[in-house]
């Protein structure tokens, strides 16, 4: 940033171009930025640099209240268009500093002991926070169809056999007999299960184990609760 050397015509030209569409160096009120640049200009700009001259005359009218203008006064190189090289401090054009900036290097190559300790502490906090989270129990409502061998099968006994299956996370609900055809009826029974503990495979295996009564079993409906 900067205007270059404001005591030269080139610097004043930069200032003029910068102020073409602005009333002040920074913002919309006179500030310490204007004071800093004003003091760097040696005298009124020539008439052909009309924007710089307008600004100069305007800031000159604030001469008495210069110290009380808002803002913090910075070095001259901090103001102005960013494309212009700052030549305010050096003055020597021959000295070419080879500023080889390592963009990817960290300021502190060796990780300090304290930083390491802090990092581990934070990781521990994160783990404990994550573990505390209460797990939500996943449940499902299942409607099962249990089919008998024929119309002479004792459906009451069949239902007793099905309800005799007990497991942690399994609760039997209501049931009814649904006519299938030719006098045969199937048992339709509801149950609620915890997904982690009871599965449909397990239920099918246990229900079809009653070979005297059960011909087959189907899942009529499966709903997450």
């Amino acid at each position: 940033m900067g205007f270059g050397d404001l005591k030269t015509p080139a610097g004043l030209q930069v200032l003029n171009d910068y102020l073409a569409d602005k009333s002040y160096i920074e913002g919309y009120v006179p500030s310490q930025a204007d004071v800093a640049v004003f003091e760097a200009v040696s005298g009124p700009p020539p008439a052909d640099l009309c924007h710089a001259l307008r600004w100069y005359n305007h800031i000159k009218s604030y001469e008495k209240e210069k110290a009380s203008l808002p803002g913090v006064k910075k070095s001259l190189g901090k103001y102005g268009p960013s494309s212009v090289e700052d030549t305010t401090g050096s003055g020597a054009a021959d000295a070419k500093d080879d500023d080889d900036i390592d963009l990817f290097g960290s300021d502190d190559e060796e990780e300090s002991e304290e930083a390491k300790k802090l990092r581990e502490e934070r990781l521990a906090q994160y783990e404990s926070k994550k573990a505390k989270k209460p797990a939500v129990v996943a449940k499902s409502s299942i409607l099962l169809d249990v089919k008998p061998w024929d119309d002479e099968t004792d459906m009451t006994k069949l239902e007793e056999c099905v309800r005799s299956i007990q497991a942690d996370g399994l609760v039997w609900g209501s049931s009814k007999l649904v006519p299938v055809g030719y006098g045969i009826k199937k048992l339709q029974i509801q149950c609620v299960v915890e997904d982690d503990k009871v599965g449909t495979d397990m239920l099918e295996e246990q229900i079809t184990a009653f070979e005297d009564y059960v011909q087959s079993m189907d899942v009529a409906a499966f709903n997450k609760i």
Binding site: A20, D21, K22, S23, Y28, C50, R54, W55, H58, S61
Partner: protein, 174 residues
């Protein structure tokens, strides 16, 4: 913008309480303010000047005799040339003249904002809002001044904020 609406904007920017009753009179809808005591006031400049004095902000009318005269001249300019325009060519002439005048000035009169800047901002808003980017760059000094005035927090209020962006695609005419 209707004169009454503009005068209400001015009241608000001056910090006055609303409550004045405005009416319009004649073919050109001259604003009229009915005061509590004394005769009613007619005309934008007259009412605006009255409001400024009522708000005890006489610095807006100029600090020196020359500045006061210039403020009055710009108020007259506002009523006759800005409000009295009728065609696109008139608008362009207006902006061209204003651009020349503002080349070496931050404000219209003196080194501080005055009533002239405020009323001209209100009057020109409907023209500036329709300018293209090229036109804004063509009238660079008007754009700079307008952008400056619209950043005063109390003045713009509900009027739309106009974007002024310097576009490198269009070469400056200078």
């Amino acid at each position: 913008m209707a004169a009454a609406a503009e005068l209400r904007l001015l009241e608000k920017s001056l910090g006055l309480k609303p409550g004045n009753k405005y009416s319009a009179q004649g073919e050109r809808q001259i604003p009229v303010l009915q005061t509590n005591n004394g005769p009613s006031l007619m005309g934008l400049s007259t009412i605006a000047t009255h409001l400024v004095k009522q708000a005890s902000k006489e610095h807006l009318l100029g600090s020196t005799a020359e500045e006061k005269a210039m403020v009055q001249q710009w108020l007259e300019f506002r009523v006759t040339r800005v409000d009295g325009h009728s065609s696109k060519e008139d608008t362009q002439t207006l902006l061209k003249d204003l651009n020349s005048y503002l080349e070496d000035k931050v404000y219209l009169a003196g080194h501080n904002i005055t009533l002239a800047d405020i009323l001209l901002y209100y009057g020109l808003h409907r023209f500036i809002v329709d300018l293209t980017v090229q036109e804004k760059e063509k009238y660079l000094n008007v754009s700079r001044w307008f952008c400056h005035i619209q950043h005063y927090p109390d003045i713009r209020q509900h009027l739309s904020s106009i974007v002024f962006i310097k576009n490198r695609l269009y070469a400056n005419s200078h």
